[in-house]
Symmetry: C2
């Protein structure tokens, strides 16, 4: 990262000292974020694009030693149960058992995250980004703090859409129609929605297996608006709710299509084949739309199942506590949503299914795509979510998660010796100096959000690296992507064609709007929003 | 395989037509079973030995497409449950749904296995081979036929010594002392044995969790002699019982050693670390003693954890129905055991713990090492085990296991067009002609045991190939062998040293004989028995 490039893009980072970024890291970052014509040329050649895709994927993932990690959160030593009992959360580094008197209490550190007023906005991403991110990660970063034990999880440790289908057979069963492979649904104003979870404020008997998190916090009047769905956090706020409805519609759309194409298939086969398709569709959207939006590179990653055959990192995924911590992007969530021209406070979007039904799916995607997300970083979490920040820090301490500097070292960055190497923002540095006696004491959870964002990105070096390692190595080890499975036998010929044609969330939205034939903006990036400001009202993007 | 080499070693195979062995297969087999001085030279150089080991391991495993297999026995199509629910047995090939009117009924086909009289003996292996094989495979080829459903299994799908520790936490708990990391045991005549399962013919309350298979078939008088252990088939006969006692002793020996070396460790840590050591010790014995005994190659395979990093076959194991079928080596089991100079009929060795206590562990290992195994193949299964052969054929039909020829094709051999290409033995061919209308109808289970054994081996080409693929790819994907885990942190420095020093079953036996200081023959091969006929009574082998 050169001084020039930093200056060009880092409004808060003018004074950061890049001397501890590491030469190799700086060269790699520079090459990947410059020379756009060269990268465009690479991508024009199909073979070269695929090869480069493979090399850069390896480069991203092999910044960490390959799995299996020696420990989970079960015990501070390796045992057969710790290697096999996946109801414990994984971890990259062993517990740091040293005393840390130089660290602030969790609730004091959490104050570093507090947003004042409306907060700062992100220049790069829309409010659809945290909506999709939250929906997507609720599928595998699950259950920390369930029953008070942050070591346990019910994560499938891979992408299998439990947020839509539920984490076990019982949940899945209560959501299925058992006819034509469909999920239960309701039609409201011509559009399809999940069934309602409650009647007169009580969870319906048929949905007894569903256990929405923090149900006791959902106000009585809202309970009758909450959707019945597999994700126990899908009601958390309007963002994940919206994406979940989209995937419900896509499931039933494809199930109908397969039923027509394969009249001999029973309900079970249609249901399971549809799920296969939706899982891989999600992975494609994650890689080709979401990750490409997040990375500051000129190169665009592609989903290439043939490349996953030979790779030393290709080991079964096991979601880690570190991945969970670095993915808590509360600062991206705005304090109010602009819906149909009105500002709706965040609080009113929680567990409020009515909002979605009233506005309609297309218009709501459009709303979220036109509003910027919050700026990621310290001092930008809505006070409503501040208790969650405190809890994150408590969990980090309970599990003895190692320091920011230890993780820098583990993931291939030199240790920092001065806060100036973390942030160029004097306000951030001042606040950290007040709370931490030494840079070596810095909590991982604070450090990653204190980092200046890197050139063209939403976040800093270490956060970007951990996300890269754990996202790629999770998505690409999905069994459905292995060469013997990525075939029409697994997805049906119709499914292969659907997968081939799906390149963006916008594609999925626009084929699932029976209630109107409008064209809506569906975009993770604010750039598109500006470029395509006139798409509302029937014209194609 | 050249004509000369076949003649030299294949007493029943003189007339076999090798034209459908495949050129590449023949060249590989020839090179690996000839040029002994060259192979010896390769193994003298440490680097070359390791490289060759890696290349030959890849060669063996990559005769099949890498996992995941598209299907399990759950359904004839791929679904998320079928890819993740490991309580179903895996399978290499999809069900063969074609009708097969040209096949005999299972009980008729099973007659092909019937041994007349004492049966034929193996010129190469001792009775210790089936003992070890049965004990070892009972750890992962488990539960076909449980509750009548051959699709289900409680296999851990890897080597984790459930046959010693039990398949779940409840079973493990009832076997532990919860002191010093030890397993419960008893001392009889100065030697350590597992506790007795029963008192007055009833399973003791403390062992309620243990469910020995076919318990109703164990005669009343023998019940009080049966050992309490994790393996639900460990009582099946004297062979697996003996090996299980050995590993119990080794567990408690190492637990004692770790307790002394690490006084701060609690019972749990000692227990789990000991298990880690025993799992890898078993893998080493399997690779370096057992597999090297089985392969006809001049090259000796070694356990080399560093090599398991980069390999396209390195995917989590899932035990297959094919592996289970080809590993049913009933013909190796003699119809009577020569114990302390007396012939004990097979029937009297079933569920008879007393036999082991009375004879003593060292002498019994010696007995088994001096008696040849049965010849592997058709017409050589003791009538006592014939119902098991029938059941194997029934399971193979129920699960629609594809034909012998389909598996030849899948595993890299040309399809045979004539039975002469399977066996040179006119008696075998005649019997098959009588039962099968066409060579394409041949059951896998019959075909593999009808094959002439290959040069210097116990069995034929296809059986050897399937065993090679599934054994290597199971053993080497064990998480404890991954580079970040194969360290003193996982096994303790003492454990690493024990693993380094353990190269044979004989090593393990001789350090676990507190009741006498004799030296005994412990050998899978009859050659050693001849060479070392005089080791009994105190002298080193």
């Amino acid at each position: 990262m050169t001084t020039t490039s930093r200056k060009a893009d880092a409004p808060t980072g003018d004074g950061r000292d890049p001397s501890r970024d590491g030469l190799r890291n700086r060269v790699e970052a520079h090459v990947l974020t410059h020379y756009e014509p060269l990268w465009r040329a690479v991508q024009r050649n199909r073979w070269l694009h695929r090869r480069t895709n493979a090399v850069l994927t390896d480069l991203a993932i092999l910044k960490a030693p390959p799995r299996p990690n020696p420990l989970s959160t079960m015990a501070p030593y390796t045992s057969w149960p710790s290697l096999t009992d996946r109801s414990y959360v994984g971890r990259h580094l062993p517990p740091d058992t040293a005393p840390h008197p130089g660290r602030p209490a969790p609730e004091r550190a959490a104050e570093l995250f507090r947003r004042e007023g409306a907060g700062e906005t992100c220049h790069r991403s829309t409010a659809l980004l945290p909506a999709f991110a939250q929906w997507f990660t609720d599928g595998f970063l699950r259950g920390h703090g369930r029953g008070g034990d942050p070591r346990r999880t019910d994560s499938p440790h891979t992408i299998d859409l439990v947020q839509l289908y539920g984490a076990d057979e019982e949940v899945t069963s209560c959501l299925r129609e058992f006819d034509g492979g469909r999920l239960k649904s309701r039609v409201v104003n011509g559009g399809e929605f999940p069934p309602l979870l409650c009647e007169n404020g009580q969870i319906k008997a048929q949905f007894d297996a569903l256990k929405p998190v923090r149900w006791e916090d959902v106000p009585e009047p809202l309970r009758d608006t909450v959707f019945a769905t597999g994700g126990d956090r899908a009601h958390a706020h309007i963002g994940p709710m919206l994406v979940n409805v989209l995937f419900l519609r896509e499931h039933n759309r494809i199930a109908g299509l397969l039923t027509r194409a394969h009249p001999t298939w029973d309900d079970e086969r249609v249901f399971q084949t549809t799920r296969n398709i939706l899982v891989v569709m999600t992975i494609r959207l994650v890689l080709e739309e979401y990750i490409n939006h997040l990375t500051p590179y000129h190169f665009r990653f592609i989903l290439d199942p043939t490349r996953t055959v030979r790779a030393s990192w290709h080991r079964e995924n096991w979601s880690t506590i570190e991945f969970s911590l670095v993915y808590r992007w509360h600062s991206l969530i705005p304090s109010s949503y602009r819906i149909d021209g009105e500002d709706v406070p965040l609080l009113h979007t929680l567990a409020n299914g009515r909002l979605l039904e009233d506005r309609g799916m297309g218009p709501l995607f459009d709303d979220l795509s036109r509003q910027p997300a919050g700026r990621m970083g310290l001092f930008n979490t809505d006070p409503l979510l501040l208790p969650t920040e405190t809890r994150s820090l408590e969990v980090s301490r309970e599990l003895q998660v190692a320091s920011y500097n230890d993780y820098r070292e583990h993931f291939g960055f030199p240790r920092v010796t001065d806060l100036r190497q973390v942030s160029g923002d004097p306000v951030v540095r001042e606040a950290l100096y007040d709370l931490y006696t030494d840079v070596d004491e810095l909590d991982l959870y604070v450090g990653i959000f204190a980092e200046d964002r890197r050139h063209g990105s939403l976040f800093g070096n270490l956060l970007g690296r951990i996300i890269g390692i754990d996202s790629f190595s999770e998505a690409l080890t999905n069994p459905l992507l292995s060469p013997r499975l990525f075939t029409p036998a697994t997805f049906s010929p119709e499914g292969m064609e659907i997968l081939r044609r799906t390149r963006s969330l916008s594609d999925v939205v626009h084929r699932n709007l029976p209630e109107d034939d409008g064209r809506y903006l569906v975009s993770l990036g604010t750039k598109h929003a500006r470029d395509a400001g006139d798409v509302r009202g029937g014209r194609a993007v």
